[in-house]
């Protein structure tokens, strides 16, 4: 039997259970519409401004960094899987198996170090830090 | 090695001058240009070649070195001189030296660049006359254009941009046509040639190795190539109807550039016609075109003269008269006789000297008066007797006054044309061309009379005084050469006929 049929079945179940709960709740729950209920919750105050707020650029930096490293793990996984077999077979030396991965990771780590030093993962900068930044350039 | 030295000195000199400060550039260029001039005169005296370069003659100062191999074809550095090219090399080196001296006065802006370009032109001109490999020749041929384009465009007169571009476009399109045609010819020759060396191609042509190319049969191909190349060179010469760039270029160019343009650059065209069209192709290919070419030549002579008659700009007069003079050269070439071709070659040298002289004289007057209009400068004879005297002497040279080289040249040409068996109706053509002489005499005298004699009526009375020595000296040198060649044409004519005779033998005439 194919594994994926079972997984698909679980996906279906995973969808049906929430839907079922929603259906049950729909039958049970009351509905008393009232405008103020539906207002955005801002600690009881009248909501101010829109929700599309500007947020810290660092979120974006981190997302980009993640993209790089996530993809990198995707590329490392095949290597990790065959590693044991490759080590056990005598056809290739340990160096030949290890070196490409080390080179790959080292390049990535250089990238990380660069991002680190250039403040990509620096969440908040104090005024002093910003000033220092300005002086350096 | 001599030719390499000539070219190398000019090239290095050009570079050095380009980088030199403006103040000393003129003197430096002059000093440098003396080296090739002196060397070429020595080469002239030491000339030991015989026969025609393309027809298996003995070359003087020959040298050959591998350059590029392209598939089946070798492209080589192949230079050498024969009797027809050596005089032109000497003409080039001397004229360049004199042109440099004559530029001292008029050129007062960006001198180092100017003299650098002039020396660069010299190097390439020597190359054009000495190269015996098609590619090498073509490289030099085209390399002349760029500096000349810049010379006209930067230091020229009010309409210099138009003139420069016109010159550039005309000559370049012509080159492209000629180049394409020649390549087609070489491809048509197929395996029978292994290089672009001109003697080899000539030999293959003579041996009738021409095959077909893209469906064109050998004869058609050869004829088409002949026409295309003729047109390509005709633009350069220039002859009617491809002459319109010439007056513009001459008029707008600064005096030294005009000197070089008229003196040497035009000869590139006629020289190429001699080398390629009339040496390389078998007579049966040329035959159908003899009459048209002769007609074009005569038309050039007369039409050029007529146009000159109508001009009021002195430089323009000289320019159009060049068209006329070049017509003689074509006529001489197409006559296919010893005197015809030899005379044509002689005329190349002679016209180079005379037109150079004329332009220099006009330039000197212009330096003082800032006008070239015939009507404006009347009465100049009083103010600038020497310059005007030389101008008149040049005009006489043009007219073919005996004892001047022009006389000898024209005499040879007419003689050669008259006795031609190759050219049908030769006497008629000759007679018509001779009629050109009358017109030339007419317009030159007319112009001189209007221009330099008569009442002084320059509107703004410039401080017109005697031209400085370095303006006048080159003209005397030229005049001396003109008279020397006029008195003793055999100085170079023997050399020339030596190179010309094989053409006629090969042409089975």
């Amino acid at each position: 039997m194919n594994d994926w049929i079972a997984i698909g079945a679980l996906a279906l179940v995973g969808l049906l259970i929430p839907l079922g709960m929603m259906a049950v709740s729909y039958l049970l729950r009351p509905s008393v519409p009232e405008t103020s209920k539906r207002a955005t919750y801002e600690s009881g105050e009248v909501p101010t401004g829109g929700t599309r707020i500007r947020f810290n650029i660092q979120y974006y930096m981190v997302a980009l960094l993640f993209l790089v490293f996530d993809i990198e793990t995707v590329l490392l996984f095949p290597w990790a899987v065959v590693y044991l077999d490759a080590v056990e077979s005598d056809a290739v030396s340990l160096f030949e198996i290890l070196a490409p991965m080390v080179a790959f990771v080292v390049i990535l780590l250089i990238g990380l170090a660069w991002a680190w030093r250039n403040g990509a993962v620096e969440w908040a900068q104090t005024t002093r830090q910003v000033d220092a930044e300005g002086n350096r350039s | 090695m001599m030719i390499e030295i000539l070219i190398g000195v000019a090239l290095i000199g050009a570079f050095a001058t380009f980088l030199a400060p403006n103040r000393i550039a003129g003197k430096l260029a002059f000093a440098i240009s003396l080296i090739p001039a002196g060397l070429s005169i020595w080469m002239f005296s030491a000339f030991d070649g015989s026969g025609n370069a393309l027809l298996g003659g003995d070359l003087a100062f020959e040298s050959q070195a591998a350059w590029i191999t392209l598939g089946a074809y070798d492209i080589t550095w192949f230079v050498g001189l024969d009797g027809s090219s050596l005089p032109l090399v000497v003409l080039t080196t001397i004229l360049v030296t004199l042109a440099i001296v004559s530029s001292w006065t008029p050129i007062d802006d960006r001198e180092s660049q100017f003299y650098g370009l002039v020396l660069f032109i010299e190097a390439n001109l020597i190359g054009v006359f000495a190269a015996l490999d098609f590619f090498l020749w073509f490289v030099f041929w085209e390399a002349v254009l760029i500096p000349m384009y810049l010379l006209i465009g930067i230091w020229g007169g009010p309409r210099r941009k138009y003139a420069a571009i016109k010159f550039f476009v005309y000559t370049n399109v012509a080159s492209l046509l000629m180049f394409g045609a020649f390549i087609a010819l070489v491809f048509g020759l197929g395996d029978s040639v292994t290089s672009f060396a001109l003697p080899e191609i000539t030999a293959a042509m003579a041996a009738g190795e021409l095959g077909s190319f893209y469906g064109l049969g050998p004869t058609t191909l050869a004829s088409a190539v002949f026409v295309a190349m003729f047109v390509g060179f005709a633009v350069k010469v220039p002859i009617v109807p491809f002459h319109t760039w010439l007056p513009d270029a001459h008029v707008e160019a600064p005096t030294p550039a005009s000197v070089l343009l008229a003196g040497v650059l035009l000869k590139m065209g006629t020289y190429a016609l001699l080398r390629f069209n009339f040496t390389m192709f078998p007579t049966e290919i040329i035959e159908p075109f003899v009459l048209p070419i002769a007609a074009i030549a005569v038309i050039s002579v007369i039409y050029g003269a007529m146009l000159a008659l109508a001009q009021t700009d002195l430089k323009r007069i000289v320019a159009y008269s060049s068209v006329s003079s070049m017509g003689y050269v074509i006529l001489g070439l197409i006559a296919f006789t010893q005197f015809g071709i030899g005379g044509a070659t002689f005329q190349m040298v002679s016209h180079g000297l005379i037109s150079g002289l004329m332009f220099m004289a006009v330039g000197v007057i212009y330096n003082a008066t800032h006008t070239r209009m015939v009507t404006d400068m009347s009465g100049m004879a009083d103010r600038m007797p020497v310059a005007v005297g030389i101008l008149i002497a040049g005009a006489f040279g043009y007219m073919g006054l005996p004892l001047m080289s022009g006389f000898a040249a024209e005499f040879y040409i007419f003689f050669g044309a008259f006795e031609s068996t190759f050219l049908e109706y030769a006497p008629i053509f000759t007679a018509l061309a001779m009629f050109g002489i009358v017109v030339v005499a007419g317009y030159l005298l007319f112009a001189m009379q209007r221009a330099v004699f008569g009442p002084y009526n320059l509107e703004t009375d410039y401080e017109v005084g005697r031209a400085p020595l370095h303006d006048v000296a080159p003209m005397f040198v030229l005049l001396g050469l003109i008279i020397a060649l006029g008195v003793a044409p055999e100085l170079i004519f023997e050399m020339i006929t030596d190179a010309v005779d094989p053409i006629l033998d090969g042409g089975e005439l």
Binding site: D3, G14, L28, I53, L84 | -
Partner: protein, 361 residues
Amino acid sequence: MSAVTPLQNGDTVLLPERIADLTGLGEFGVAGELLAAFLGAFVIANLMMAMTGVAGPWAKRKITAAFTDRIAVNHLGPAGIFIIVADAVRLLSKENIIPENADRPAYDLAPIVIAGSALLGFAVIPMGSGIHLADPEVGLVFVFAVAGIASIGLVMAGYASGNKYSMLGGLRAVAQNVAYEIPLVVTGMSVVLFAGSLQMGTIVEAQAQPLVDLGVVSIPSWYALVNPFAFVLFLIANFAEVGRNPFDMPEAPAELIAGYQTEYSSVYFVLVYLGEFLHIFLGGAIIATIFLGGPAGPGPAELGIVWFLLKIWAVFLLTQWLRSAIPRVRIDQLIEIGWKGLLVLSFANLALTAAIVGVIA
């Protein structure tokens, strides 16, 4: 290293097949298989739902109370266990208030995604006693991938609510998930280096080899013992990944009201809440499977499920313990710990593991 042959499908008997055999559904061809698979999935999903049901309304309160020396729920049933039913009814029958700024389809989908993704992850977890829905060759990657879907649910919830706090909560959730996902996966990879396979069954089986044989007691080569460094890293990264203390930034009540779930109520809230607990259990299940030998334990193999649940609950207990014991980190500290600390350490761990595995072999 002993030769661990990757399991082919059929070496172990998976739950759907077992069901098919038991019920005779196997005779009905594809339809029967599908039905059996569906039944198996239903069993597993309900098992997990039941566990979260226990954990959410009851165990969590009890544990927290114990740590803070309080009593917590105790009225309904023995030790207040029936609070689960009461809470379920209460929450399901509440009015569902949908904020006016909500971005509707996304707002409705988010709870389903959060809950469903966690459930789906259990498909490849071998729970012992034959409760193992599927064992694809890429099991480990699959489970990481599916667990990662939750971030989409969180950001959908945060974005679609139309509330600033929700938005910030959703963003934080993503930033946190992405920061700790990589250490998590890379550390998981070091397990793969040992096992040489991504198949969950194989990984579990590889851990059954004895590490040290002390005659009577044979300590199994659980990767937590073989590679404790990786275990600790994975544990920490996992806490951040599922958003528990000290890394519960996305919902940090003190800062963001309730983060992305601020605007959710009624059944939607239940789903989001359950989804979170499911994720905690999924994290526990992964830890149990790849570091703690899965369902392995003393006694007959039939006890597997017991041992397995015990391990999951141990992890859960740990999360609650940390919740009571450790203060929350700041968001900037959180990100920096992730990128500058865990990531580097996890790579170091990977390289080290690779070297050790290489040298041993």
